[in-house]
């Protein structure tokens, strides 16, 4: 038997070759993803500033943060933002998916157009919203004045609650396409014969939705909403462009607060502590949306 050279032996050993193939991905992810994740946690326990490596100060940062009213407000804002925007995205996205799933002319054209808000850079579409929300020249205010509904222009981004709702609307606008197109793919896997059988048995459209569409769609809803929650919870650009966390920190999310404290403020340690505190909340949110929805699928006996 011909003896194999070292190179040939290496090429025929799938374990060795497998590890070799993983090298570029592992180098990138270990060096620039896993390491920063660990470093971030460590920084959270130091008083690092920009240009000065910090000293270990234990849980000082965290102790300070839980008494800091701005931080607590940002936690509330983040949760409020995530919950309201995710529910709105789910309801509207599912509705849009069901509309698109009907027999429509120009179906693929509609589907392509619907995705536009999702592919355009958020920072840039946020500028359009900024102009729409402008306190003096807002087109929404203009329309409402013409209809005679209001007599003064609305200061969308100037009032705490209005600003919260305005950024949520912008976020929902951007998030609907992702939810709708993903759920549409799920809807298309449901065989129409279920609906035929149900209508022969006299099921109303609502019953068909409740007992056919929902159970069969639940596994995909779980995945899509988990991602949607993830994106919303860690949102940064939209807030940064529209309000920078203002007015009076009413739209300050944890991500924007971490940025503000760490980069312009220079307190890397404190910013890292805020980012670290996002992790358990984020995990809880993901667990809740994923397993919460999965459990329902299992209870209703839908197979995966």
């Amino acid at each position: 038997m011909k003896s194999l050279s070292l190179m040939e032996r290496f090429q025929s050993n799938r374990h060795a070759l497998g590890y070799a193939f993983m090298v570029p991905a592992i180098l990138l992810l270990a060096g620039l993803l896993a390491y920063p994740l660990g470093l971030g946690t460590w920084l959270g326990f130091t008083d690092a500033k920009i240009g000065r490596s910090g000293e270990w100060i234990g849980i000082e940062n965290f102790k300070y943060l839980i008494t800091d009213s701005v931080f607590l407000l940002s936690v509330f804002n983040t949760l409020f933002y995530t919950v309201v925007a995710s529910i709105a995205k789910f309801v509207l996205g599912l509705w849009l998916a069901m509309l698109l799933n009907k027999n429509l002319p120009f179906k693929s054209f509609f589907r392509a157009v619907v995705l536009l808000p999702w592919i355009v850079p958020t920072a840039l579409s946020a500028i359009a919203f900024w102009w729409i929300y402008d306190s003096q020249f807002s087109v929404v205010s203009w329309m409402l004045t013409r209809m005679g509904l209001i007599d003064r222009y609305i200061d969308f981004l100037g009032d705490p609650w209005l600003a919260r709702m305005s950024v949520i609307i912008a976020n929902v606008w951007r998030g609907i396409p992702f939810v709708a197109i993903s759920l549409l793919a799920g809807l298309q896997t449901i065989s129409p014969s279920y609906y035929e059988a149900a209508s022969i048995d006299g099921a109303t459209p609502w019953q068909q939705f409740r007992f056919i569409t929902m159970p069969l769609l639940t596994p995909i809803i779980a995945v899509v909403m988990t991602f949607s929650v993830l994106f919303t919870f860690t949102d940064f650009q939209l807030i940064y462009v529209l309000t920078r966390g203002g007015p009076l920190n009413a739209t300050q999310l944890m991500a924007t607060l971490a940025f503000q404290r760490a980069i312009p403020g220079g307190s890397l340690g404190e910013g890292a502590a805020i980012a670290t505190m996002m992790v358990p909340l984020l995990l809880a949110a993901i667990m809740f949306s994923y397993f919460g929805l999965q459990r329902r699928a299992w209870q209703q006996g839908a197979d995966k």
Binding site: H15, F21, W95, I132
Partner: protein, 288 residues
């Protein structure tokens, strides 16, 4: 997906009913989804007098002007930002695709010891959001002297692109029959030959999906570009428009919108050619 099958019982619903329950809500939603783009476009061509008057009809423009584009292209660093964005996106995309193809093939087909664990770790890596790690990443970028260079962005973008592309390509590779590889092996092909001559040509749609995704994601990236870069010549379009075109309290709405429009067009253009790949990539990765 075929239209004949999705007919269902729809012949039972009458036309007026279809209008009320389907077409009108759909049209309303489309108007809402597309209005900001219309608004972006029309504002970019409006002269300042029309922009700042409350009397006229804001939905239409009377004297279209290119003044905002002129200002943007010849009196700001916008062309430079555009070039940076293209450069960074293309490089980051190629690096990510290269690393992802190898990783996905190894995990899905070589099935080396620990490949299952590796697959899970790649998935978890996808769940790590940039807004959690940008602070430590900034200090790493600083330490290696990459701060304020395009290299900082080219190297950090793959951290969110590689997990996604690997996950997507794993799905594509899984759909290619094993038998093809076995035939090639019997004929004496090495793994590398199998990958480049058999798997990759068959996975071209997957590669296009992954490429389009990686490109649009890097084009849209904001927080890294905002944090790791500070001089105007290195900025990307989203960051440049936000940080440099907004001067004090005087917002130059016209040029802001022109900047947003020009920055959105390249991705929209590329997307329009590859819609099907984009959609299949997005839905495929969700369905896994």
């Amino acid at each position: 997906m075929s239209n004949k099958n999705s007919q269902g019982m729809e012949f039972l619903t009458s036309l007026p009913r279809r209008w009320v329950t389907i077409y009108i809500p759909l049209i309303l939603m489309l108007i809402v989804l597309l209005f900001p783009f219309y608004w972006m476009g029309i504002t970019a061509f409006k002269p300042n007098e029309e922009l700042l008057s409350r009397s006229g009809n804001p939905f239409w423009l009377i004297n279209p002007t290119l003044a905002h584009f002129n200002k943007l292209l010849f009196h700001t660093s916008y062309p430079q930002w555009l070039w940076n964005t293209i450069l960074v996106s293309v490089c980051a995309t190629f690096i990510s695709i290269f690393a992802s193809v190898l990783a996905a093939y190894a995990i899905e087909r070589l099935r080396f010891r620990g490949s299952k664990v590796m697959g899970m770790m790649i998935f978890f890596a996808y769940l790590v959001p940039p807004s959690i790690i940008f602070i430590p990443l900034a200090s790493i970028v600083f330490e290696y002297g990459l701060f304020d260079t395009r290299m900082a962005l080219i190297l950090t973008y793959p951290t969110f692109l590689v997990p996604f592309c690997t996950w997507l390509l794993m799905g594509y590779f899984r759909s290619i029959p094993f038998e093809l590889e076995e035939c090639a092996m019997i004929d004496g092909a090495t793994r590398w030959q199998i990958l480049t001559k058999i798997i990759l040509p068959l996975a071209v749609p997957g590669l296009i999906s992954a490429g389009i995704f990686a490109f649009t994601l890097s084009w849209n990236e904001f927080i890294y570009a905002l944090t790791f870069v500070s001089s105007s010549e290195i900025k990307t379009v989203p960051v440049g428009v936000i940080t440099e075109l907004v001067e004090g309290d005087v917002y130059h709405w016209g040029s802001l919108m022109a900047g947003a429009l020009l920055g959105s067009l390249p991705v929209a253009f590329i997307y329009s050619f590859f819609v099907e790949y984009y959609v299949s990539g997005m839905t495929g990765s969700v369905k896994e």
